[in-house]
């Protein structure tokens, strides 16, 4: 399959990318290409120009910063999954990155592209919402930092402007007795998330003092499970308490659940509590609670 014709520009640096975006109205950024190229081949997207940011060294790599871990937007899923720093302080993110697609997809796909594309069935948005991560983007008006919770607004839509480039994702440092986990029901062919649940729980002397639980795959965009979180905080984190809290996910889902030929909305709704329970239990175990 061939996409429609387009002009191709390779950016040498971040400022070069911004210049190319400004001088080519209708241009799309190209990172790993593992969401954009399939869309262009299906002609669901036909940008007049593509600005390839795939070789900008300053956008790549994982480093520890004062406020946590900073992951350059061009860092691949494979690099994130293999990073000891990410495994240690953002276990859910390493787990999710390791479950994206298949090895060839993970070698090309990037965190920045994944977040900007905001496919409802993708994994990283769910985790970034649960981990209270920040998305750093630069545009003509300068740099801004956007909270992941609120960044995703609908199916493949975010608050990012067309002329903004995501430069990094910042995941806050782990608190004492905090643990996170991601569990996923993968589509058997594409490996995209049919259901994805990310949980982060913090303990304070055995009681759950903070919890963030996010849902993906079965809703139009990564969303927090407020009712589940509320039920967790202040309680214990034994199997019964986790099960009771997980059952509240029905309230969070409401009638927003998406269904398709593979899994109906009813089916996803019925199975969701199981995945919510597993994610919380795994996060609690990492927090040293369970």
């Amino acid at each position: 399959m061939y996409s429609a014709n387009f002009d191709y520009h390779r950016a040498k640096s971040l400022s070069d990318a911004q210049r190319l975006l400004a001088s080519n109205p209708g241009a799309k950024l190209l990172a790993g290409g593992h969401s954009l190229i399939p869309l262009m081949k299906l002609r669901l997207a036909s940008p007049s120009a593509v600005v390839d940011i795939g070789r900008i060294p300053e956008l790549r790599g994982i480093s520890k910063s004062g406020d946590g871990i900073r992951i350059g937007s061009l860092t691949t899923h494979a690099e994130i999954a293999a990073s000891a720093d990410v495994q240690k302080s953002a276990a859910a993110l390493a787990e999710a990155a390791g479950l994206v697609g298949d090895p060839a997809v993970r070698s090309r796909g990037t965190i920045g592209g994944n977040v900007a594309h905001a496919d409802p069935a993708s994994d990283l948005p769910t985790v970034l919402v649960a981990l209270d991560a920040k998305i750093v983007a630069i545009g003509p008006k300068g740099e801004r930092t956007i909270s992941a919770d609120g960044f995703f607004t609908g199916i493949m839509s975010t608050t990012l402007a067309d002329d903004e480039v995501i430069t990094a994702i910042v995941v806050p440092a782990l608190a004492k007795e905090q643990g996170s986990a991601y569990v996923k029901f993968s589509h058997p062919a594409s490996r995209y998330a049919v259901i994805g649940v990310a949980a982060s729980v913090t303990s304070s002397g055995g009681t759950c003092s903070a919890a963030r639980v996010a849902l993906g795959g079965l809703v139009p965009h990564a969303t927090r499970a407020n009712a589940v979180e509320k039920a967790l905080v202040g309680g214990g984190l034994d199997t019964t308490a986790i099960g009771t809290a997980a059952a509240k996910v029905g309230t969070d889902l409401g009638n927003e659940v998406t269904g398709d030929i593979f899994a109906s909305a009813e089916y996803r709704t019925a199975v969701a509590p199981v995945y919510v329970k597993r994610a919380i239990a795994a996060a609690a175990a990492r927090a040293g609670l369970a």
């Binding site: 399959m1 061939y2 996409s3 429609a4 014709n5 387009f6 002009d7 191709y8 390779r10 190209l30 290409g33 593992h34 190229i37 399939p38 262009m40 081949k41 299906l42 593509v50 390839d52 795939g54 697609g101 298949d102 090895p103 060839a104 997809v105 070698s107 090309r108 062919a189 594409s190 490996r191």
Partner: protein
């Protein structure tokens, strides 16, 4: 728009003028006539088009030739000198890891990527590593055996 690209494929350098929309798989198959690389799904799912790009296994139906400009590509034709087989190919031959052979070039590169990272994978790790490669013939059992045999023979 036409672009000048320069790719090294199987050790030989090719300079070509291409359309930006030309996919790496079409560059290999249609421009260079290297038809060992197959197109199965053309939607990034089946892995039949997998090649090595700068040492990394990638789906060439989901990569623009322009993105590979300046890079080094290995296709199934370049894995071993004419008339010889690479050790992974040898193992697929010995263990009947193929029937029609359509998925095989991709399977071989996914296997090579796995063995480069893990020289002694378990059956489960092999299945996980080959998740992006579909086979409609073998039922996968003999593919797993082939990868195990390749690992045992010290293939990389």
């Amino acid at each position: 728009m036409e672009l000048s690209v320069s790719l090294t494929v199987n050790g030989r350098r090719y300079d070509r003028q291409i359309e930006p929309r030309l996919l790496l798989v079409h560059f290999l198959r249609d421009t260079l006539n290297l038809t060992g690389t197959k197109i199965g799904c053309d939607t990034s799912q089946c892995g039949a088009c997998t090649v090595m790009l700068d040492g990394v296994a990638v789906k060439s139906c989901t990569c623009l030739a322009a993105q590979a400009d300046g890079s080094s590509v290995t296709t199934i034709e370049g894995l071993a000198p004419d008339g010889q087989l690479d050790r992974v190919q040898e193992a697929f031959w010995e263990k009947h890891g193929l029937q029609c052979g359509f998925c095989t070039p991709g399977m071989i590169f996914a296997t090579k990527a796995l063995l480069a990272a893990n020289s002694n994978p378990s059956a489960e790790q092999i299945r996980h590593a080959l998740e992006g490669n579909m086979c409609r013939c073998t039922g996968y059992q003999n593919i797993v055996r082939s990868v195990q045999a390749a690992a045992a023979a010290g293939a990389r």
